[in-house]
């Protein structure tokens, strides 16, 4: 377990604090490393610096009031969390959602997934020392933020979904902008691949680095792109289709190498699949109301419990809600993917170099506020 006090430096093994303030821990994560030269003997992630007590907060807020909290757990895929939370409450309270709203939500959630992966792509290459792809990715991501900003009024923590619909309808301009963005993103793949994927230095930094064995992945409950890079094509959107994901034709990208490169490739290919989902959803988009007007101002689900899990950009996320019949949830529990994905590193880090540790940590794609909650 975490020994919070640094041990004295003996003659060979010494400890090094990677974080909590460190450029490549992406937030306030602290990893206590025991090093022999530059080789890692032991790694111990110390979490909790960003703990805000979202689960406790939920008990003192109505279902609507908790909505902004959901996006703040994982600020990079806020809309997906928001969407997932709404679906969980709707399932608990039995709220009907109009068809158009379901399509709008799916489109926005997938846009958010692309933006999250784009940011990850840039930040990961920056962890490896390449600065320029970071800004290219941000340039593309800016388009998504603009699109979502127009409909939700926010750039990062959207709170766009409502119980039984969405806050605002999308218009023709949203559709043209989204289609233009997809065309633009597709034209950028060759740039990304030429600049990064085919770069010999990059390949040397990611190939056979940070292999997560299938056994480790199962023991630690690794999900998301990290699991799909181990040869499991497991994605909640296909495994237990929710919302309207069963209506679209898309694939679950999978790699078998289990290393950092496999995780990188899976994420890049996922962006393309998200583009496909958005295109199909835009084609099928029905007319009609964008919100269920019959939903009361204060949602009061009947007594009971619900567990709803969905696929965020980082893996399988779940909300467990226990209702006692009032408008306040009796208990809320969130299962977050970053938490389990982070702790597999304890085993993966052993025997690697400090530089590899940065590469592996980046390839897992954790969001620290999500780990701490």
């Amino acid at each position: 377990m975490a020994s919070l006090i640094q041990e004295p430096v003996d003659d060979r093994i010494y400890s090094l604090n990677l974080g909590p303030q460190h450029p490549s821990t992406h937030g306030v994560l602290r990893v206590l490393l025991k090093l022999d030269g530059e080789y890692i003997v032991d790694a111990d992630p110390v979490i909790g610096y960003g703990h805000r007590g979202h689960e406790k907060m939920a008990e003192n807020r109505t279902y609507e009031q908790f909505m902004p909290n959901a996006c703040r757990m994982d600020y990079l895929s806020g809309l997906i969390y928001n969407h997932g939370y709404c679906l969980a409450v709707e399932k608990l309270a039995g709220i009907e959602v109009p068809e158009r709203a379901r399509y709008i939500r799916t489109i926005c959630a997938e846009l958010n997934r692309i933006s999250s992966h784009l940011l990850w792509f840039g930040a990961y290459v920056m962890d490896l020392g390449g600065f320029t792809p970071f800004l290219y990715a941000f340039d593309d991501r800016e388009n998504i933020l603009d699109i979502l900003d127009r409909v939700s009024g926010s750039r990062l923590t959207y709170s766009y979904c409502r119980f039984g619909g969405v806050a605002r309808d999308i218009d023709e301009q949203f559709i043209t902008a989204t289609r233009a963005f997809i065309a633009r993103l597709r034209s950028r793949w060759s740039d990304y691949h030429n600049l990064v994927t085919k770069n010999v230095i990059f390949i040397n930094r990611v190939r056979n680095i940070g292999v997560i064995t299938t056994d480790q992945a199962q023991r630690f409950g690794v999900t998301g792109p990290s699991l799909r890079a181990c040869g499991f094509a497991y994605d909640m959107r296909k495994a237990e289709p929710y919302e309207i994901y069963d209506r679209f034709d898309f694939e679950i990208p999978m790699e078998t190498a289990s290393d950092a490169e496999a995780r990188y490739l899976v994420r890049l290919r996922e962006m393309e699949q998200s583009c496909r989902i958005i295109e199909q959803a835009l084609d099928q988009l029905p007319a009609g109301p964008y919100r269920n007007d019959k939903v009361p101002f204060k949602v009061k689900p009947p007594k009971g419990e619900v567990y709803f899990s969905f696929e965020s950009a980082r893996g399988q996320t779940g909300f467990y809600l226990l209702s006692d019949g009032t408008s306040y949830p009796y208990r809320l529990r969130a299962r977050v993917p970053s938490f389990s994905n982070l702790h597999v590193l304890v085993e993966v880090f052993k025997g690697t170099l400090v530089a590899d540790a940065v590469s592996i940590l980046g390839s897992i794609d954790i969001v620290v506020p999500e780990v701490d909650r």
């Binding site: 010494y14 090094l16 460190h22 450029p23 490549s24 530059e38 290459v125 920056m126 962890d127 490896l128 020392g129 390449g130 600065f131 320029t132 800004l135 290219y136 340039d139 600049l195 990064v196 770069n199 230095i201 990059f202 040397n204 930094r205 170099l353 400090v354 530089a355 590899d356 940065v358």
Partner: protein, 330 residues
């Protein structure tokens, strides 16, 4: 007799004095300009304009930054080795200035045309790694120490192929004097005779100056800031200026050794003065180094060492032997 000696001394002294002032002025202005250029190049590569607010084209941005650095508090860590900690930034800048003494800017624009110019410049440039080690050690910080240790290992590994590639040129000209080496390239530059040596020199020079993709000692995503993690204010500024001045020197040496110094291409000067040719070529090489930095990710430390010991050193050694053999039998 005495009068003649006095004249000589006077002429010599004034020459040294003028040279010193010119070097100090040029090296400072040049470093400021290079920092601006780097940010502009980085900006345009990254689809953004770079500095543009302070002064025309943002030219005064680095001066503003310099003033900011001078105004900052100099923090010395509590458990640092104080003397060494203060000395290190000075130590890193001194040898850089010496390098300017022997650089052949033009046919008659050399402060001191020594017969061991090449040796002097590489001898002194090795000093900077000593300063980095001192700074990293004295900071009493694990990240700084790791950076310093990496820096020493890297410099030792890359100095060998660097010098071996330079030796190939020295063998061809049979002189260590910069003016003679440049004069020998009046018609054809040595980069055409020695393509392998040129390539090795450019790669090793990038590594010598700790530039990306070889910026392992200050790899910010791993070691925070490497050897200068604990340095603040103008002490950090000196490390920074030294890095850019060092870059200028290695590129100027590359220009004189491989790209014909003050000569135009294939003997065509096109009416442009030699010093302009020299600076043009040097700044072009600097641009290439910046271009590389903003394009590639960073190598891992062990890969870097392997690359030097397993590829660069055997290659440069083979190049030297082949050069020597050809010179012997022709």
């Amino acid at each position: 007799m005495l009068e003649a000696l006095g004249n000589l001394l006077g002429a010599d002294l004034s020459r040294i004095l003028v040279g010193l002032i010119a070097v100090l002025l040029f090296s400072q202005l040049n470093a400021l300009f290079l920092v601006w250029l780097e940010r502009k190049v980085a900006g345009h590569i990254q689809l953004r304009p770079g500095p543009k607010e302070v002064g025309p084209f943002g030219l005064l941005q680095t001066i503003a930054d310099g003033i900011k650095l001078v105004g900052k508090e100099l923090i010395t860590p509590f458990l640092a080795d104080k003397k060494l900690f203060i000395l290190a930034p000075v130590l890193v800048f001194m040898p850089v200035l010496v390098g300017f003494m022997v650089l052949p800017f033009g046919e008659n624009l050399i402060i001191r045309d020594m017969n061991v110019g090449v040796l002097l410049i590489f001898g002194f440039s090795t000093f900077s790694v000593l300063a980095i080690l001192a700074g990293g050690w004295a900071s009493n910080n694990k990240y700084a120490l790791l950076g310093a240790v990496r820096s020493v290992a890297q410099n030792v590994a890359y100095e060998i192929p660097l010098l071996l590639s330079v030796m190939a040129v020295v063998l061809t000209v049979n002189s260590l004097r910069f003016s003679e080496i440049v004069a020998a390239q009046g018609k054809v530059w040595f980069c055409f005779f020695q393509p392998v040596a040129t390539l090795i020199y450019l790669i090793c020079a990038t590594a010598e100056t700790n530039r990306a993709p070889f910026d392992i000692p200050e790899a910010e995503s791993e070691l925070v800031a490497g050897f200068h993690t604990e340095y603040s204010g103008m002490r950090f500024g000196l490390f920074f200026l030294a890095e850019y001045t060092n870059m200028f020197i290695v590129c100027a040496v590359a220009t004189s050794l491989f790209f014909g110094g003050w000569h135009g291409p294939f003997g065509f000067a096109l009416g442009i003065p030699g010093v302009v040719w020299f600076l043009l070529k040097t700044y072009f090489l600097l641009f290439v180094i910046m271009w590389v930095r903003w394009t590639f990710p960073r190598l891992r430390f062990d890969q870097l060492m392997n690359f030097s010991w397993k590829v660069m050193i055997p290659l440069s050694l083979a190049n030297l032997v082949v050069t020597a053999a050809i010179l012997k039998f022709i």
